[in-house]
C-alpha cells in the first residue's frame, strides 16, 4: 500500500491491490458455505464425507441408501449448481465490462444486443413445438436462438464490412424487440400457459438446471473469452478513451471490436442457454467494481469476474434456500438485493470525492 497518497476516507478506492486475494478468498469461502447449505439438510460433515468419497479417500457402502442419496444431492445437484453460479456470474461480469467499453455506453449489459430475447424465443419454440422436454433441448433451443440473433445483429450493424457501435446497438435493440413480440405472439397463440410455465422460471433467470455438462460448456466458453479479454486489456483501455485516441495509440479498432463483440456474444449465448437471462449482474456490477479498481481493464476485468461470481453465488444460494422447499428464480433475487445495494453504493461514493 502506498501510504499517504490516499485520503483516509478513500483508502479503499482505486489502485490498491487488496481486492484480488480478498475476493478470491471470499469466493472460496462462499462456495464452501453454499455447498454446505441447501434444501436437504445435510450436515457439513456429510458434505465433507461425500467429497472425500468422490475423490477416493473414503468408500461408501453400496447398500447405504441414505449415503447414496446424499452423494447424489451433493455431487450431482448442489456442486454443479454452485460451480455454474460462479461461472455464470463471472461470465456476466466480464461481458458486462467489455460491452460497456466497446459501446462506450454505461447502460450496456450482456443482453444489449438482443441475445437473451433471441434465446428466450428459441427456448419457447423448442418447448411449444415439442421438440423435446427437459433442460438439454431447452438449452440447445436457446443457444440456437441466441446465435441467430447475433448473426442478424452483426449483419445489420455493419456497413461496408465495418461494425459501427451505435448502429449495432440499434440493430440489437430492434431485433430484441422483434423477438419479444414473437415471444408474446407464440405464448398468446398457443394460449396454453401451462405449456410455457415450465420455462417461466428459466426466463426469469434460474440456475436450477445446473448439470456437469452445463458446467463444462460454460467453463470452456468463459476460459476462452477471459483469456482473450485479458490479452487485450491495453487495447480495451485505449478504446475507453475513444476511437481516435485508440487508433492514435496503434490499436486496430475495427478488428478489436469485431473479435470482442463476437467472442463475448458467444459467451453470452452460452450463459443464457444455461441460466436464462439474469438481470442486474452484468449491468451494475461492472460499475460497482469500477468504484474500487478504477477503469483500468487489467484490474477491472478479473475483479468484475470475481465480484460477480461471489454475488451470483450468494444470490443463488438465497434463491434455493431462503423459502425452502420453494425456489425463486435467481434473477428475482439479484435485482431485489442488488439494486438497493447499488443505490447505497452510489450514495456512499457521492460523499467521497
Amino acid at each position: 500500500m502506498t501510504a499517504g497518497t490516499a485520503s483516509p476516507s478513500t483508502w479503499w478506492v482505486r489502485g490498491h491491490g487488496w481486492w484480488g486475494p480478498v475476493l478470491g478468498l471470499l469466493l472460496v469461502a462462499s462456495a464452501g458455505f453454499a455447498l454446505a447449505h441447501g434444501q436437504a439438510g445435510i450436515e457439513p460433515s456429510g458434505v465433507v464425507s461425500v467429497l472425500a468419497s468422490k475423490v477416493g479417500l473414503v468408500d461408501v457402502a453400496p447398500h447405504d441408501r441414505q449415503a447414496l442419496v446424499d452423494q447424489a444431492i451433493i455431487w450431482d445437484v448442489r456442486l454443479p449448481r454452485v460451480l455454474l453460479s460462479v461461472l455464470v456470474g463471472a461470465g456476466l461480469g466480464v461481458v458486462g465490462v467489455v460491452m460497456q467499453t466497446l459501446t462506450r455506453n454505461q447502460l450496456a449489459d450482456p443482453y444489449l444486443l438482443g441475445i437473451s430475447s433471441g434465446a428466450s424465443l428459441g427456448a419457447v419454440l423448442v418447448v411449444v413445438a415439442g421438440l423435446g422436454a427437459g433442460q438439454a433441448s431447452l438449452a440447445s433451443g436457446a443457444f440456437v436462438g441466441a446465435c441467430v440473433v447475433l448473426v442478424m445483429v452483426l449483419v445489420l450493424g455493419s456497413s461496408h464490412g465495418q461494425l459501427r457501435p451505435s448502429r449495432t446497438i440499434l440493430a440489437g435493440v430492434a431485433i430484441g424487440q422483434l423477438c419479444s413480440a414473437l415471444l408474446a405472439l407464440v405464448i398468446i397463440w398457443v394460449s396454453r400457459p401451462e405449456a410455457t410455465q415450465g420455462i417461466q422460471f428459466w426466463l426469469a433467470g434460474s440456475l436450477a438446471g445446473g448439470t456437469w455438462p452445463a458446467v463444462a460448456a460454460t467453463a470452456a466458453a468463459l476460459a476462452l473469452t477471459l483469456a482473450w479479454c485479458l490479452a487485450s486489456t491495453r487495447a480495451l483501455d485505449a478504446l475507453a478513451f475513444g476511437e481516435t485516441s485508440a487508433a492514435a495509440l496503434g490499436v486496430h479498432v475495427r478488428s478489436l471490436r469485431w473479435s470482442m463483440l463476437v467472442t463475448t456474444a458467444l459467451l453470452t449465448a452460452v450463459l443464457v442457454s444455461v441460466s436464462g437471462s439474469i438481470g442486474f449482474v452484468g449491468l451494475i456490477l461492472p460499475h460497482a467494481v469500477r468504484f474500487f479498481t478504477g477503469p483500468g481493464h487489467r484490474r477491472l476485468l478479473p475483479a468484475a469476474a470475481l465480484a460477480a461470481a461471489v454475488f451470483l453465488l450468494w444470490a443463488d444460494t438465497a434463491a434455493r434456500t431462503l423459502f425452502a422447499p420453494r425456489e425463486l428464480p435467481v434473477g428475482v433475487v439479484t435485482a431485489l438485493v442488488g439494486v438497493p445495494a447499488f443505490v447505497l453504493l452510489l450514495y456512499r461514493t457521492d460523499e467521497a470525492p
Binding site: 444431492i73 427437459g134 434455493r320
Partner: protein, 350 residues
C-alpha cells in the same frame, strides 16, 4: 406474461397456469384404465340415468350466492352460456342441456356419457369467446369455472354483466376471495353441483349425483391402502418441480383418497420446489400428472435421467402412478379420479 392471473387456483408463479388445458395424448389409455377399474368391480361414479332425462326442469326463482354475488333465475326460459369445460359438464350431468344456448373452451374430450347431450349445444369458440360473440347469444346467465372468464376481453366483469341484465355464476372452488391456506374439499365441488341444481329447480338430480359420487369415494376409501402414505404430486416442471400444495385440487384429491401430501405446508394449489427438497421429503409414492404439455412419459424420462429422480425410494420401488390432468379441475370428474387413484395405489403399494 399475457393471460396471467386468469385463475384463482393458480400456483405462485404462473397466474393462469390452470387454464387452457388440452386434450390428453393419453385419453385412450385413460379410457382403457377406466374399463380396467370397472372390471375390478369397483363402482365408478357415473352420471345417473335420471339426470340425463330430457325434461329441462323449471327455474325455481331460488337465489344462490356465487362468490359473494347473488344469482337468481326468475321468469322466462333461462339462456345459459358455459365458458369452461367443468361448468359445461356439470350442466350436462344435471340434464340441463336444453338451457344451454352456447358453450366454449373444451380442454379435453367431453365425458363420453355426456357427448350426445353436448353435441346438441352450439359451440361459440374452442377457447374463450369474445365478448360480442357471448352477448350475441343474449344470455341470461354466464357460468364459468375460472375468474378469467370475467376478464374484459371475455365476458367482462360480473358487476358490468349484472348491469346489462346478465347473471353470472362462478365456481366456488375458484372464488378470487378464497384464502390460499383454505383447503379445497370435494364438499366444495359438491356444493357447486347442489347450487346449480337449486338454481335450475332440479335439486333432486343434484342430490342423486352427489350421493352417487360420495358413495363411490367412500367405497374406494374402504380399499386397503396403507395409512399415511406421503405422496409427491408432480404436476409439471423438470429442473424445478411444480407440485401439489395444500389447498387446491391436488390436495383435495389426495385428502379424499386418504393419502398425505409430501408438501402439506405449501399454501395455494401448486408450488415450485427444488429437487433437493423432493429427495429430502422421501415420498412413499409419486403421482405423475399426465397432460399433453408435460406427459407422464416425459416425467418418467426425467425420473430416469435426473440423479435425484433415480435415487427416490418410491421410484426404485415402482410406487409411481399416473393421474390425467383433466381430473384435477374441480368438477364432476374429481370423484372418479379419487377412485382411480386409490385403485392405482393399491396396485403399486403393498
Amino acid at each position: 406474461m399475457p393471460g396471467s392471473s386468469r385463475c384463482s387456483l393458480s400456483g405462485p408463479t404462473g397466474g393462469g397456469r390452470r387454464e387452457g388445458r388440452r386434450r390428453l395424448l393419453t385419453a385412450a389409455a385413460v379410457v382403457v384404465l377406466l374399463f380396467a377399474v370397472a372390471a375390478c368391480g369397483t363402482s365408478r361414479p357415473t352420471v345417473p340415468a335420471a339426470a340425463m332425462a330430457s325434461s329441462a326442469g323449471t327455474p325455481s326463482g331460488a337465489q344462490v350466492v356465487s362468490c359473494g354475488q347473488a344469482v337468481t333465475l326468475a321468469g322466462g326460459a333461462p339462456r345459459v352460456v358455459t365458458v369452461n369445460q367443468a361448468a359445461t359438464e356439470i350442466m350436462l350431468s344435471l340434464g340441463l342441456a336444453q338451457h344451454l344456448v352456447g358453450t366454449a373452451y373444451l380442454d379435453d374430450d367431453i365425458l363420453p356419457e355426456l357427448a350426445s347431450a353436448y353435441d346438441g349445444v352450439p359451440v361459440l369458440s374452442p377457447e374463450y369467446p369474445s365478448r360480442e360473440a357471448l352477448l350475441a347469444t343474449r344470455p341470461t346467465l354466464v357460468y364459468a369455472s375460472y375468474p378469467s372468464a370475467f376478464q374484459p376481453e371475455v365476458a367482462g366483469d360480473r358487476a358490468t354483466l349484472a348491469a346489462q341484465g346478465v347473471q353470472s355464476y362462478l365456481s366456488p372452488a375458484a372464488c378470487p376471495s378464497r384464502s390460499r391456506s383454505e383447503p379445497l374439499r370435494l364438499d366444495d365441488v359438491w356444493e357447486e353441483i347442489h347450487q346449480v341444481g337449486t338454481l335450475f329447480g332440479v335439486p333432486a338430480r343434484a342430490e342423486t349425483l352427489v350421493d352417487e359420487q360420495r358413495r363411490a369415494v367412500d367405497g374406494a376409501r374402504a380399499t386397503t391402502v396403507p395409512d399415511d402414505l406421503d405422496v409427491l404430486w408432480w404436476d409439471s416442471g423438470s429442473d424445478v418441480l411444480t407440485v401439489g400444495a395444500c389447498c387446491g385440487a391436488p390436495g383435495m384429491i389426495l385428502e379424499a383418497a386418504g393419502l398425505a401430501n409430501a408438501f402439506p405446508r405449501l399454501t395455494g394449489g401448486w408450488a415450485e420446489v427444488g429437487w433437493e427438497s423432493v429427495a429430502a421429503a422421501d415420498p412413499d409414492l409419486v403421482v405423475l400428472v399426465d397432460a399433453d404439455w408435460h406427459t407422464a412419459a416425459a416425467k418418467r424420462a426425467v425420473l430416469e435421467r435426473h440423479p435425484l429422480g433415480r435415487s427416490l425410494r418410491a421410484v426404485r420401488e415402482g410406487a409411481v402412478v399416473v393421474v390425467p390432468f383433466s381430473a384435477t379441475t374441480p368438477g364432476v370428474r374429481n370423484a372418479a379420479a379419487v377412485v382411480e387413484l386409490v385403485n392405482s395405489v393399491a396396485r403399486v403399494v403393498r
